[in-house]
Every structure is written in structure tokens, then in C-alpha cells.
């Protein structure tokens, strides 16, 4: 029983791990699966461990790790799509060039629609964020890969980067008038201070939700796939597990695109607040 407890505590408490923990318990209790079937021990979060690429030493800030590797692959993919695929500058685009153009047009339109014409000055930054998250999410879906965007360290840098960038920009462009963002001029006078407090709190929660949303979605999806992969070691459950993995994988592909889009469009919304703070 001690071993069982170990396993349960080892499976960390992501939302999904509740059911998963219960199943683990059940399987071990059943006793049908002896110790040699070590595959049954779930390590759904091992895929997120940051490891040095060379050697096994401590991780200092400059150590090349699997994070470095997959970030570099993401950069290379971006370069491949946006530099290599557009090298001919053809008026009639090749397939890969039209993908690059499609992403450009999509992001450009999003920035223009949400943040307005003035927002287009910041289009390269939003494009950088969108493209990075999109590629990191999709690369994370390759089996055996490492999802950089599943780490709160990464998404927090992005989220807080947007937060500070937008806040500083708001004060630079509007001066103290930026604070009108928190002052609902349409609301009844006696409600305005209360609303202002709520607005300020929600403003400061933005970067947290912005970054946790992305990391949480990616982490949860990958962990769930890993849990189902663990079940595949049991002959009886493996067909179900494989089908489930396929289905969840499809869902994750969707989530990868949608989360990148959500991150980018929220950035645009925050940018719009900085450009036009008055409600």
C-alpha cells in the first residue's frame, strides 16, 4: 500500500490527474499487473522535465537544455516558413509561400480589426508572439518532443511582457489619462469607485490568466495523452486507449491553434486598451 500511495502522490494534481490517480489505484489494487510491467506507473509530467542536452550537471541559466533545442527548432521552422518559403517572392505563390502569406494576412487583419489602424504599428510584435506560440504548440505535439509553451516560466514571460509593454505604452501615449481605463464614465457616480477597484484588480489579474491559460491548456492536454498512453500497456484497454489518444490528439491540434490565437487576440485587446483607454 505504501507503494501505491507513492504513485498517487507522484502523479501531480493537474485537474485531470484526479481521475487518473483513481484509476492508477484501481489497477495496482487489482494486482493483475506485476511489478515488471513498469509501464503502468504513470509519469504524465515527466515529459515536461527540463534536462541538459549534454551531460547531467546542474542547470544554470546558459546551459543548453531541451528547452533550448525545441526553441531553436521553433525559430528554424519560423525561418523556414517566413524566409525560405518566400525567397522567390512569387506573385503566384507556392504552397508554403501562401501559408506564410495566410498567417501574415490573418494576423494583420486581427490586429487591425481589434486594435485599429494605430495598432498596426505594433503588428510585428503581435506577429512574433502569435507565430512563436503557434509553432511551439504544434512542435510540442510531435511525439517525444518538448512543449516549451507548457511551462509557466515561458508563458509568464510572454504574458507579463505583454502586460508591462501595454501598460508602459498606455502611459506613454496617454499620460495620466490612461487611468480613465478604470473609470467607467457611463456608470452611476456612486458605483464608479467600486467598479474602478474591480477594474484595477482585473487589470492586474490579466497577465496571470493570460499566461496560465496557455500553459495550463498545453500541460493538461499533454498529460492526458500521456495518461492514456500509459493505459495502452494493458492489452484489454489498449484499443480504447489508442482510439482515445487519437481523439485527444485531434483535440490538442485544435487547442494548439486556438490557444495561440487566443493569446494573440487578447494581446490585441490589451493593446487597444492602451491606445484608447477611455471607455
Amino acid at each position: 500500500m505504501a507503494g501505491e500511495n507513492d504513485i498517487v502522490t507522484e502523479v501531480p494534481s493537474v485537474a485531470e490527474s484526479v481521475t487518473e490517480g483513481a484509476t492508477t489505484e484501481h489497477l495496482v489494487e487489482g494486482g493483475a499487473y506485476p511489478a515488471e510491467e513498469g509501464g503502468l506507473v504513470f509519469h504524465p509530467l515527466d515529459q515536461f522535465i527540463v534536462r541538459p542536452l549534454f551531460g547531467d550537471g546542474p542547470i544554470s541559466w546558459y546551459t543548453p537544455t531541451n528547452v533550448t533545442l525545441w526553441l531553436a527548432i521553433a525559430v528554424l521552422c519560423v525561418a523556414a516558413l517566413f524566409i525560405f518559403a518566400t525567397r522567390n517572392r512569387s506573385t503566384i505563390p507556392s504552397r508554403s509561400q501562401s501559408i506564410a502569406e495566410l498567417l501574415y494576412g490573418f494576423t494583420h487583419k486581427m490586429v487591425e480589426d481589434v486594435a485599429g489602424k494605430e495598432g498596426l504599428r505594433y503588428f510585428p510584435y503581435i506577429m512574433t508572439l502569435f507565430v512563436f506560440i503557434l509553432f511551439a504548440n504544434f512542435l510540442g505535439l510531435i511525439p517525444m518532443s518538448f512543449s516549451t509553451t507548457s511551462h509557466i516560466a515561458v508563458t509568464a514571460v510572454l504574458g507579463f511582457g505583454v502586460f508591462f509593454g501595454v501598460t508602459i505604452l498606455g502611459f506613454i501615449l496617454n499620460g495620466p489619462a490612461f487611468l480613465k481605463l478604470f473609470w467607467m464614465s457611463e456608470a452611476p457616480l456612486f458605483l464608479r469607485p467600486i467598479i474602478a477597484v474591480i477594474e484595477v484588480i482585473s487589470y492586474f489579474v490579466r497577465p496571470v490568466s493570460h499566461s496560465v491559460r496557455l500553459a495550463g491548456n498545453i500541460t493538461a492536454g499533454h498529460a492526458v495523452i500521456k495518461v492514456f498512453a500509459g493505459f495502452a500497456a494493458i492489452a484489454v484497454l489498449s484499443p480504447v486507449s489508442v482510439v482515445a489518444i487519437a481523439l485527444i490528439y485531434g483535440l490538442e491540434v485544435l487547442v494548439a491553434g486556438i490557444q495561440a490565437y487566443v493569446f494573440a487576440i487578447l494581446t490585441c485587446v490589451y493593446l487597444k486598451d492602451a491606445l484608447h483607454p477611455a471607455h
Binding site: I59, W61, Y62, A72, R89, V131, A215
Partner: protein, 176 residues
């Protein structure tokens, strides 16, 4: 199993959740910033200007092509117009030529007719003259014959009458 639990224990000490292992944060943030800067430079220095140039060029090409198509269309309708004009001209010309030919034929015909008429008139006059001639000759001859016959008759009746009186009598009677 023993190895595994050992590994597990190691993992657990490393981090309950790898995402919350703060030892790796500086590393991740460092490499992330490098990656972001790299992507930003790729996009802002090369990709975005290039793509916007491609898109601008494409819309330019499309509007140029549309203008050219419009131009060609105008040219085609102009050509059609001039063709129709040429056709109408040709038709008018052919009508004119036909009319002229007809008029000339009519003129020729009229000339021929007048000529024929004059010829006919001349011949008629000639014929009439001839007839009148013949007629006067004939009446002269009749008088002579009558005089000759009357003299012979008078002689046959045994009446002696001068030739002059017989002639006068015959002429008298013929006038009467």
C-alpha cells in the same frame, strides 16, 4: 521496481511538477528571450517587409491586369465599331455603284430609244414622201390613160374631135 522508485524519488525531489521547478526558470527565460528576439528579427527585418511587398505587388499586378483587360476590351469594341462602319460604307458604296450602273443603263437605253425614234420618223417621212410621189404619179398616169382612152373612144364613135377638146373635157370630168 527498485530502480524505478529511486528514479521517481529523484523526480519528486527535483520537482513535484516540472513547471514549478524554479531552478530551471532562469534557463528557460534566457533561451526564450533569445528565441523571441530571433523570431522578431526574422519577422520584422526580413519576412514581414517581404510579404507585404509581395502582397502589394500582387494587388498592383492584378489592378494592372484589370486595367489592361479593360483597355483591350475598349480596343475590341472600337475594332468592332470600325468594322461595322466599314461594312456600312461598303454597303453604301455598292448601292451607289448599282444605282450608277442602273442610271447609265437607263441613259444608254434612252439614247438608243431616241435614236431609234428619229430613225423611224425619218424613214416614215421618206416612205410618206415616196407614197405621195407614187400617188401623184399614179393620178397623172390615170389622167393620161383617161385622155388616151377618151380620144380612142371618140375616134371609135367616129366623132371628129380635136385632141385638145377631148383632153379638156377629160380634165374637166377628172377634176369634178
Amino acid at each position: 521496481m527498485a530502480i524505478q522508485t529511486e528514479a521517481m524519488a529523484e523526480n519528486v525531489t527535483e520537482a513535484g511538477m516540472p513547471q514549478l521547478n524554479f531552478e530551471t526558470f532562469p534557463n528557460q527565460i534566457f533561451w526564450l528571450l533569445i528565441a523571441l528576439v530571433a523570431i522578431y528579427l526574422i519577422l520584422s527585418r526580413i519576412a514581414l517587409p517581404r510579404i507585404s511587398a509581395i502582397l502589394a505587388e500582387r494587388s498592383g499586378t492584378i489592378s494592372n491586369d484589370l486595367a489592361a483587360a479593360e483597355d483591350l476590351k475598349n480596343k475590341a469594341s472600337e475594332a468592332e465599331k470600325s468594322y461595322e462602319k466599314a461594312l456600312a460604307d461598303a454597303r453604301a458604296e455598292s448601292n451607289r455603284i448599282a444605282d450608277e450602273a442602273r442610271a447609265e443603263a437607263q441613259r444608254d437605253l434612252d439614247a438608243a430609244l431616241t435614236e431609234a425614234d428619229t430613225k423611224i420618223a425619218a424613214q416614215t417621212a421618206e416612205a410618206e414622201a415616196a407614197i405621195a410621189d407614187i400617188r401623184s404619179n399614179a393620178s397623172e398616169n390615170v389622167g393620161e390613160v383617161a385622155r388616151d382612152v377618151a380620144q380612142a373612144l371618140v375616134a371609135a364613135f367616129g366623132v371628129d374631135a380635136s385632141a385638145d377638146s377631148v383632153n379638156a373635157a377629160v380634165n374637166d370630168r377628172m377634176k369634178g
